[in-house]
Amino acid sequence: MKQFTLRTIVRALFALVILLAGVAMVPYVDRPAAALEWRMMAGVYAPELAVHASEGALGSQFAFTGSGFPAHKPATVFVNGRYLGRVMTDGQGMAQFIVQSPTSPLALGHYDITMEVDMNASATQGFTLREDAPLVWAPAGFMGRLFVFGERLPQ
């Protein structure tokens, strides 16, 4: 009887662990908060520019990855509409670059980075420099040309 009870308890506990295994991950997974609607996917098939961090302290580095652009083409990079430099897209229409932000307190604020191959292949992504944000660096192993601009935007 004792053996039966022990086996029963072990089996019940095992079943409970399996049933609740996913629930144990609750603190680590965020449920989607925004509605699943078309605006989430509005950039579909259009070129895309992604940045690894949306905000950082003064002097932060932001790593950008452009994708969905025409392959093997020179792309122009702009900061707030001002010319910053050029990168080449690879065979898959991708390009990576790093933007080094200024350290002067005058530079606090939002910046839009645009990568553009031609009039129809353009994508913009931004970052914000905030006093209370952490200093961020390009992820280890991230390869790409480094662009630097001062607190006064390039002319």
Partner: protein, 508 residues
């Protein structure tokens, strides 16, 4: 013979009705009707945006869609569109997705019955699939994904039926379904490794019979006929055609679908090859984690452990079937994890279907373990309660995320554009702008004077030349002017687009 009095006949009719009702498969009916009702309550009320607008417009106007062509969707969607379900074509095609989701779930019910999963646990597993955010969301708008899952469930079910009685004709059915499914979604090729594994390991001797090969070949040929939709539609020179390119004069040059090379270009999706396996190794882990989180959310956490248990139990019990499901799951998960597109989260539905099957089996195994406890009836009922309770919780949690029943935004935006733009205007925009405007023009007959071009269909240099050459001749509107364009023209907001006007002095 003297006819019976009418009151006797009516009693007889009533009892016949009751007999029919009593014979009705209530479990299968519930698995079909309940989610269909849920989807109907939350369905998008009119034309929806992006791909959805493109699919609806192409179906309604006998048009052609971009790669991979989707001829099966164009064909069966057309048949569905004839049903007098609503005066709004957008709503009708949205309802088509809901119907196909319910068909997917119904077939899932029959698959789980074969795997000896008890009714409440089947309902619990399929209920979580039905209410998974992306599965639910894709059931509310015109899309190809629920037709894909319906065909996929049909392929699995027909393969299982073939193993009951391995005749050549029974094998021909899944092969036919797989071939026509290629005409809906090329991702059907991701089912091939699993299906081949299942056939080779289940009945390898069958392949030595010429009748099997003859039936399979006939099934493939019959299935491939669906691709004839493409040249047939091309021959009718449709007004809505996304298989081609505009030139700098704004003239559309369709890909020649009367030629094999043109059809091949379209159906193989070569224009999207750059996005396939588009991540570097260092970028891959976040994508894997994102998919894991999505699966976790889809099955509301509670479905993860039993799903994994079901995978193990099913593979140990029937390694051939286990291999089929695992290969389908892995092929789809690996391909889409590596697919670099914005909307890939909507593409994992095949993996959800497999997970729901594993979940049903896992629930059943837990029920077996709990059956022999001191209170033999209590634990299985508790498990059933958990399984059904999870579905109800998923409905409550996900409703607000997916409910599109009040979403008129696409129609409103498109109507605003057509109301605001000047006569004979040229409107250039991406997927969130142009297909819905074209729907209003081609399906509802609004503003035929306006020319609309999806920027996906015109190279950058051609668009630049087109805009600059016509800027002084006609009103030109664009949804998102580039830096290069802003150097040549000013952009004045007009509703959701910008009107372009030439700069007197171009910016340096």
């Amino acid at each position: 013979m003297t006819p019976l009095p009418s009151f006797v006949r009516s009693v007889e009719n009533r009892s016949a009705w009751w007999l029919r009702l009593a014979r009705l498969d209530w479990q299968a009916t519930a698995v079909f009707i309940l989610p269909f009702f849920l989807y109907w309550l939350t369905l998008a009320p009119t034309i929806y945006n992006l791909d959805s607008a493109e699919f609806t417009t192409a179906v309604a106007s006998n048009g052609l869609i971009r790669a991979t062509g989707y001829p099966l969707y164009l064909l069966v969607g057309k048949v569905w569109s004839w049903l007098p379900l609503s005066s709004d074509m957008g709503y009708r095609m949205n309802l088509f997705s809901a119907f196909l989701s319910a068909v997917t779930l119904l077939q899932g019910e029959y698959i789980l019955r074969r795997l000896k999963v008890e009714p409440w646990l089947r309902l619990g597993a399929l209920g979580l699939l039905a209410t998974a955010p992306y599965f639910w969301a894709m059931s509310l708008i015109a899309e190809v994904y629920t037709l894909h899952t319906a065909l996929m469930a049909g392929i699995i079910l027909s393969l299982l039926r073939w193993t009951d009685e391995p005749t050549p004709l029974r094998l021909a059915l899944p092969i036919f379904l797989m071939t026509i499914s290629l005409g809906n979604h090329m991702a059907t090729v991701l089912l091939v490794p699993g299906a081949v594994w299942f056939v080779l390991t289940s009945q390898p001797d069958q392949l030595k019979k010429w009748r099997v090969w003859a039936a399979a070949g006939t099934a493939v040929l019959l299935g491939l006929t669906v691709f004839l939709v493409l040249p047939l539609r091309y021959a009718s020179q449709p007004l809505f055609n996304y298989a081609g390119e505009y030139d700098a004069a704004g003239v559309f040059h369709p890909v020649n679908l009367m030629r094999f090379s043109g059809v091949w270009w379209l159906i193989t999706g070569q224009s999207f090859a750059g996005q396939m396996f588009g991540y570097q190794l260092s970028e891959l882990w976040p994508q894997v984690a994102a998919y894991g989180a999505q699966l976790w959310t889809a099955f509301l956490a509670i479905g993860i452990g039993p799903g994994l248990l079901g995978l193990v139990v099913l593979t140990r019990r029937n390694w051939r079937l286990g291999g089929l499901l695992l290969l389908i799951f892995l092929a789809n998960a690996i391909f889409y994890i590596n697919y670099r597109v914005v909307d890939k989260d909507t593409m994992y539905l095949p993996t959800y279907l497999i997970w729901a099957i594993w979940l049903g089996v896992g629930y059943q195994q837990l029920a077996l373990w709990l059956q022999n406890l001191v209170q033999p009836q209590l634990p299985p009922w508790l498990l059933r309660g958990v399984a059904i309770g999870a579905v109800l919780l998923a409905v409550a949690l996900n409703w607000s995320l997916v409910d599109r029943s009040a979403d008129w935004s696409t129609r409103e935006i498109a109507e605003t554009i057509l109301a605001e733009v000047e006569p004979n205007a040229l409107v250039l925009g991406w997927w969130d702008t142009v297909p819905a405007v074209q729907y209003l023009q081609l399906v509802e007959g609004q503003r035929p004077d306006v020319q609309t071009i999806n920027r996906f269909l015109i190279p950058g240099a051609a668009m630049e030349e087109l805009i600059l050459s016509q800027l002084d001749e006609r009103p030109i509107y664009i949804n998102n002017p580039s830096m290069a364009l802003l150097q040549q023209a000013t952009a004045v907001p007009v509703g959701p687009v910008y009107k372009l006007e030439r700069r007197l002095v171009p910016l340096p």
